[in-house]
Amino acid sequence: MKTFIISPFEELHETVRTNTVDYEMIGKRKDDYKWYDKLTPPRVITSDGEIITGKYKREDLPAEAIVGLAVSSGVIEGRARVILNMEEADLEEGDILVTAFTDPGWTTLFVSLKGLVTEVGGLMTHGAVIAREYGLPAVVGVENATRLIKDGQRIRVNGTEGYVEIL
């Protein structure tokens, strides 16, 4: 179970220079990439491989609330669209996007949204900054959001207090 080793050795440069490459290695790395794609990276990991998870230390939440970090104020209800691949997004105006992460490319979807829920993210990461600028209620850092919330469910996003409720 070895991971990629990025050596200071300049593989592409060397390939261009010599017109030779270890093609088997390329095949192996393609397989590795597919395997990595199935793994969920931890926020914090130690040299023992131990995954240290953090918790939200909050008590003021409704009983069934799914906790996260409030990054853009406002409370909104709507249909949850659980979408992991941006290209498969088929949004109607007023949908709430539920996804793993939203880097800048996802912004093109934001204009159609009523709310945003992501598994990754903090107060100053990309999705949060744009959500505030568009006035879009958003809760980020919601662990397992794409599994806990089902596509099509009606949800309420509380971007002021930092939680999501399934209605």
């Binding site: 179970m1 390939t15 261009v16 790395r29 990276p41 953090g54 934001f110 903090g122």
Partner: protein
């Protein structure tokens, strides 16, 4: 001729396709010194093929099955059932029978055996076949064993296994099954051993589940088990379960479950000594295979037997370090809002760009924060950066700090500077930090000019010269611009002003997250402008029904050329090109240089454009922006008026107004540095793909994208 039957000791590492995953693992386990594996042998896939290959009826049914699709459930069910009947009813080839009889007589023909299927793809690191786990325990007598071999063969064609293969693109004709026949052990206890803690993935913590009788009850979740955790030579945790039932072999064959006497239920299954002995065995097996293992074991007559060992493939890999010291790593993807794996070429570029000490694991980057955790000042600074913005990371780091023994702190170095702002009055600090609003345009213009220069200069470079040129550009231009202190000062001051507003408005007015509304529709935000600009593209297309109709069916990137055939097509094409000109270097997962950019695949944008056409009125971008701006202005007015009513209200309002201006002047720039970086990445990429085309032409690689799997 390939062997129809092989004993565990006769197998070789390369024979996966012959003996299957389970068979091969047992063969390997049997080779480890001091490890007891119940004796046995394997009817190989050659034996299975011999049984079916000459069977015309089987081949015919298989042809019919191959024609079906995964959702033809009724037909799949019917044909699969016929195949199963055919296989379990057919006579086993005489030479297979002879070989099985021979091995049985060597091991003891009167003994009881377990008969298990061993698929050639099951148990492999990255593929697992559903529905091929058939196990028959306590089978006695040659005829009964042969009959269960047929049953295992037939299990290749359970509906579930057939559908699974269809969904995953495996050909029914090329999936074969081996069958393991292994001497039964009648254990007093059995269970599962993970050489890694299954809860936290800690490789140094070994975990043992144990209960009475045969392990099948535990594997199938029928009974609860004790759980012991061992670190090194120390048992660090013991959880004793109430074990109400256990499964045992019957004299006449088969198994039965029996209730455990109440006073026995809470007895610890293994003694301390046995727990430690078993954990040493586990570590030995792990060392032999070279990776964490999931092991099935049993205990009979005070001897531990191993009946299965598989690699644990779900573990997240550990970032590689050059020493054995304890280290702590933070995910970079979580801070970059991009947690997909990055291909090697993409990793190279990110590593060349970042000044932080980063490691790679599982195709993702991690920052080594060990050194920072080792000093009290570093700890404090790290915790402060996490502040309220990354509570989950902060809490995880606190957990490590609280352990005290994991990272040794170095003694306080009094010369080490305290954070510079200590003791400085806040007002003075803010005044010092506040940049001139004109700087934003200056920074943007400088970046643009530098990108234009790069575009011009790179076209003349190729081969080694290109690589040197890119390296130099990263060092001298990309990094200089990205880490320009004037640049970070701009958005840091906006972030600090946001925090200031949130704190003060909460304190003075009881207003939560006030800066959220105040940050709406600010100028110079390249990313939010990108979202709004796509509304403008929709505006250019909306008046032309022919273009819309065409786009609804467009499948590939030829659509951009085809558009001109329709009324309004020229306008649509121009609008899309102009959008790509400004934003075409972006895409989902853009920090990975190898990801396909919108300019490389414009069709990606089409569904979003169409949804904008459908969901919005003309001029929506301006209306949306203006609406946000009004809301921000109204909020500002409201806050300032409420503040003026307070004691010392004029001063509070004045300070607040200043902070609001800082937010609105500077927060939009927060998105710009990454735009600059991604713009350069795309230029590098296009140049490298030209090199890749030459490699393809020379037959060095098969497709351009192969270079993504090489380091730079």
């Amino acid at each position: 001729m390939r062997s129809l039957v092989l004993g565990f000791q006769e197998m070789e590492k390369t024979q996966l396709l012959l003996v299957g995953g389970k068979g091969l693992n047992l063969g390997e386990l049997s080779n480890i010194d001091g490890i007891h594996v119940p004796e046995g042998f394997c009817v190989t896939t050659a034996g299975y093929r011999k049984a079916i290959e000459q069977n015309a009826a089987y081949q015919d049914l298989l042809d019919r099955l191959t024609m079906l699709k995964a959702d033809d459930r009724d037909q799949i069910g019917e044909i699969s059932r016929k195949i199963r009947q055919l296989i379990s009813g057919a006579e086993i080839p005489a030479d297979v029978v002879t070989a099985v009889t021979h091995y049985l007589s060597q091991l003891g023909a009167e003994h009881a055996y377990a008969v298990r299927s061993s698929a050639t793809a099951e148990d492999l690191p990255h593929a697992s076949f559903a529905g091929q786990q058939d196990t028959y325990l306590n089978i006695i007598g040659r005829d009964a064993i042969l009959q269960h071999i047929s049953k295992c063969w037939a299990s290749l064609f359970t509906d579930r296994a057939v559908i699974y293969r269809m969904q995953n693109g495996f050909d029914h004709r090329h999936v074969y099954l081996a069958v393991v026949i292994q001497k039964m052990v009648f254990p007093q206890a059995s269970g599962i051993l993970f050489t890694t803690d299954p809860v936290t993935s800690n490789r140094k913590l070994l975990s043992i589940d144990a209960s009475f009788g045969l392990g099948e009850a535990l594997v199938s979740g029928l009974v609860s088990a004790d759980c012991y955790k061992v670190r090194g030579e120390e048992i660090v945790e013991k959880r004793i379960a109430a074990k109400k039932i256990a499964v045992y072999g019957r004299k006449e064959g088969g198994t039965e479950s029996r209730e455990i006497e109440p006073h026995q239920q809470n007895v610890q299954t293994l003694s301390e000594q046995q727990i430690l002995e078993l954990s040493r065995i586990g570590r030995q097996i792990e060392a032999y295979f070279g990776c964490p293992q999931d092991i099935e074991w049993c205990l009979a007559d005070d001897t531990f037997y191993m009946v299965q060992s598989r690699p644990i493939t779900t573990l997240y890999p550990i970032p590689e370090a050059s020493d054995q010291e304890n280290r702590v790593y933070l995910s970079v993807g979580h801070q970059q809002m991009m947690t997909d794996p990055i291909k090697p070429l993409g990793l190279s570029f990110f590593l060349l760009t970042t000044p932080a000490p980063m490691r790679i694991a599982g195709g993702r980057l991690f920052v080594d924060i060990t050194a920072r955790l080792a000093s009290p000042v570093g700890r404090e600074a790290l915790i402060n950066t996490m502040g309220n913005s990354e509570p989950l990371m902060k809490d995880a780091i606190m957990t490590i700090i609280e352990r005290e023994d994991f990272i040794q702190t170095v003694p306080v170095d009094h010369k080490e500077a305290r954070p510079a702002n200590k003791g400085m009055p806040p007002a003075a600090l803010e005044a010092a930090a506040e940049p001139d609003p004109a700087i934003v345009l200056e920074l943007i213009n400088n970046t643009q000019a530098s990108i234009e220069e790069l575009k011009q200069n790179i076209v003349t470079k190729s081969g080694t010269e290109l690589f040197d040129f890119i390296r130099e550009d990263i060092q001298l231009q990309l990094k200089r611009i990205l880490f320009d202190p004037r640049s970070s000062n701009v958005f840091m001051s906006a972030m600090e002003a946001s925090a200031w507003i949130n704190e003060r408005m909460q304190e003075w007015l009881g207003e939560k997250n006030a800066s959220d509304t105040l940050s709406q529709s600010v100028p110079h935000n390249i990313t939010s402008e990108m979202g709004l600009a796509l509304l403008d593209v929709a505006d250019a297309i909306r008046p032309y029904p022919e273009v819309i109709a065409y786009l609804q069916h467009a499948k590939d990137d030829r659509f951009l050329d085809e558009l001109v055939k329709f009324e309004g097509g020229q306008e649509a094409q121009a609008a899309i090109y102009s959008y790509l000109d400004k934003y075409g270097m972006r895409c989902n997962g853009e920090i990975d240089l190898t990801k396909t950019r919108w300019s490389e695949r414009p069709i990606t944008l089409v569904p979003m454009i169409l949804s904008n056409v459908k969901n919005f009125e003309p001029n929506a971008s301006r209306k949306k922006f203006e609406q946000g701006r009004q809301e921000a202005l109204n909020k500002e007015q409201e806050l300032l008026e409420r503040l003026k009513q307070l004691p010392d209200g004029e001063q509070k309002a004045k300070d607040t107004k200043r902070m609001i201006d800082v937010i609105r002047n500077f927060i939009g720039y927060r998105e710009y540095p990454k735009y600059g970086m991604v713009s350069r990445y795309f230029i590098y990429k296009q140049a490298l793909l030209k090199e890749a085309e030459q490699l393809v032409a020379a037959g060095v690689i098969q497709e351009r994208e192969d270079i993504y799997y090489l380091t730079f």
